[in-house]
Symmetry: C3
Subunit: 333 residues, 3 copies
């Protein structure tokens, strides 16, 4: 990553809860990853599997924990949460940090909207009627917002996001599906981030709600009436069916699907590609299924064995009864 | 859900096959869910798990079955299909029901299109050449339709829908993938609904077809040459690989994937996150895999046990031969 | 598929490595699939399950292998790679092959872009600042490209594609998620094809890279720092988590998910809906889980049996110890 910015290290760490081992006046010319860094750059160490690069990195400064700092012969920025400190320092190296705010002339804005003057609405966005958008909200290009949606302050919506489309509600009468009107809307709290091409449907009767500080990745499906708690983070390609409630401070792995009408309590971690079919009432880490790619031949054998489980159970039952007969025979002898 | 509309109950049920227990002249000021209703509102009961709210709801009127009506001390709208009756009544409370039709000036329309004058095309839609769009079709903002696609009457396409993109066809010659021209198009019948950011690819040689009354949710992948039967309903994040045919009156759960070149007969129900790898020839409900999130520790144990199944089978075989030897020993003694 | 073009067969095969059995001067009026062809049309046979149509097809000419040609009584175009030869011949029947190139007036182009004059940018595309787009690149309508993305020659991006959105990076400090600046960009090589509504995030520090000739289908999630090797083909709805590297000449089935920070070597085939959680270091075909839809009742039994595996193992252990006791009893007698 090329950059023309340069800073004194002590200016970058000003106000942050860190200790510097080495020269606080050294000049930092960029940020880069530990395994592919450059002289003059600052890097960070958080993932144990990258610790091997600590000795060989070309970076001049490393942000890391007190424990890891013992093995560091570069200038060290020592702190409790290196990834957070890195995030704060890296902000200085953003190239578009002075981006002006405003509404791009190609955006289409509906009637009766209240859009904070510090909000930024990108090219070709379409905003429906009666939409509220808070301070410093950032809608990237080609975001679509339907009528009456409320968007908090500092929300970031990436391109292709759709908020407030009709929920998927149909009533079957004699084999024909009839539209169920979707009369609710979507309420998005402050500091929410939503990734590209993610969809959040409007509620059927109540609203679909995403609470403050929640972070959603790309290509996620949030169905009608879903409630996502504060500071919950959801990775890409997750599908959340209608009326399901996910608590606060949860972490949801990519590709996971949630059944509808279930409730997940606070502080639940779900690993990737899990099928969550029932409510979860205790914090902790949850998973489902058989994961991990194996050679296709082994996979076929596993499938065959799995489908013969019934036969195996029968064989064990048979063994048990035969053994019982032998033992009883012994007793009778 | 706030509303300024209000109606006499008998006006709302006019023409519907219902019986009213209580005052047919009472005034209805809104619709709301049974667990969070308001005085003056009408609600409905269809899901057994919400029956507990029947005694406590603040709603003044409840739409419900004859069986449930026995326990209802409110004004009751008694019918065979409460959800359908609710859908019909709720239509009166839509706030945008008088929406005018027409083509938004920011939409781009190709050459030689035939667009019914009652169709509605939203802001920033892009319509290719030679496209037909039927009466009362509703394209929300930012829908993209490629050349020669045919869209029936009363079709509803949500924002971000893409219809008629090239199918995924490549021929490999000496390690390099070469484009296979996608010469078909997409034919969408009447009364079809397609959710936000869903994609329907054009056919390779034949057409991709979605028959009358089919309902597709958000973020669904419909590959080239797929055929979806009439009145089939498909939940979010389903992927249907090329040339697969799904029958009429099917119900497909969210996150399910279909292999290519298979045929699913009419009236098949597939539960969520199923991997459908072979044709299905009998109506019924089908599923795959191991679902249901369990604590991660249990999940790890399950995975380990699963991968030791082979060992278990060997141990059972060994027990069987030993037991046989013992019994034969008995006989020979 | 209707077409007004017609060609002499020998003109269509000019320059291709084929042998013609029959009349090379016959007139070809269109292309169609073997099971639904027309007199005067050319078709192809590659999939063994369609061989049954060879005798009954109405096509006048069939592209096929030498082995299959023995059973063909039509004019035959005999070659080693019938699907590739078909792809080359079918190009003549594309109706939009003379499409003019250029930038649609409704597209929004940022500052300091370098866009080859032969590139084609569709309606309502949004191109950020500092973007490079190579010769004959084709961006269909409503594609969004963020700042500084580089796109090679002959790249094809379908509608709704988003390239260069922020990677999903947040650092947690005291329960609150903080943005980690995404300072890299996306580099897309030559001859890459990306399907509708697919998203490719920009890198955090390094770049997200898609190498020459890679083909991506619709609704795919490519997270930050991912590296996709040359001539790798990826089917729809695949999710690739951050920093994962997929080698060259791989084939990835639809609905598959990759964990982050893993490496897949060259020439790996992954079947659909696999959960790839670890690196793969040997070429070959890999899969995971239990796939294949079965009747729901059987599925429920399988789930129950699976969760009783532990009990089965205990019963086998018990049998083993009892049998041991019996045998030792025999010895002591």
């Amino acid at each position: 990553m090329k950059s023309i910015q340069q800073y004194k290290l002590s200016d970058l760490t000003h106000g942050l809860d860190v200790a510097i081992k080495g020269n606080p006046d050294c000049i930092v010319t960029g940020v880069s990853p530990i395994q592919a860094s450059h002289a003059g750059h600052i890097t960070f160490l958080t993932n144990a599997s990258y610790k091997k690069y600590l000795k060989t990195t070309d970076a001049s400064i490393v942000i890391l924990s007190e424990a890891d700092a013992i093995e560091c012969d570069k200038t060290a920025v020592i702190c409790k949460n290196p990834y957070y400190i890195y995030a704060k320092i890296a902000e200085h190296f953003k190239t578009n940090k002075n981006k002006i705010s405003g509404i791009h002339p190609s955006a289409i804005i509906g009637e009766n909207c209240v859009i904070d003057k510090t909000a930024n609405i990108g090219a070709h966005c379409v905003i429906g009627n009666g939409v509220n958008i808070g301070a410093e909200a950032q809608l990237d290009a080609s975001v679509t917002i339907y009528d009456n949606v409320q968007i908090g302050a500092r929300v970031h919506l990436s391109s292709g996001v759709v908020i407030g489309s009709d929920g998927f509600g149909f009533a079957n009468e004699k084999g024909i599906w009839h539209d169920v009107p979707q009369l609710g809307t979507v309420i998005i709290g402050d500091d929410v981030s939503i990734g590209a091409n993610t969809v959040v449907d409007r509620g059927a009767l109540e609203n679909t709600i995403i609470e403050n500080g929640a972070k959603l990745d790309n290509l996620i499906q949030v169905a009608h009436n879903v409630h996502i708690g504060a500071h919950t983070i959801i990775a890409g390609c997750v599908a959340i069916a209608g009326s399901t409630k996910i608590g606060a401070h949860c972490m949801i792995g990519g590709g996971t699907c949630f059944a509808g009408h279930i409730t997940i309590c606070d502080k639940v971690i779900i690993t990737g590609m899990t099928a969550v079919t029932k409510s979860i009432t205790e914090p902790g880490m949850y998973s489902s299924g058989i994961v991990g790619a194996v050679p296709n031949l082994e996979f076929r054998k596993n499938n065959a064995r799995f489908h013969r489980l019934d036969n195996l159970i029968e064989r064990v039952k048979h063994l048990e009864s035969e053994l019982k007969a032998i033992k009883e025979g012994d007793h009778h002898e």
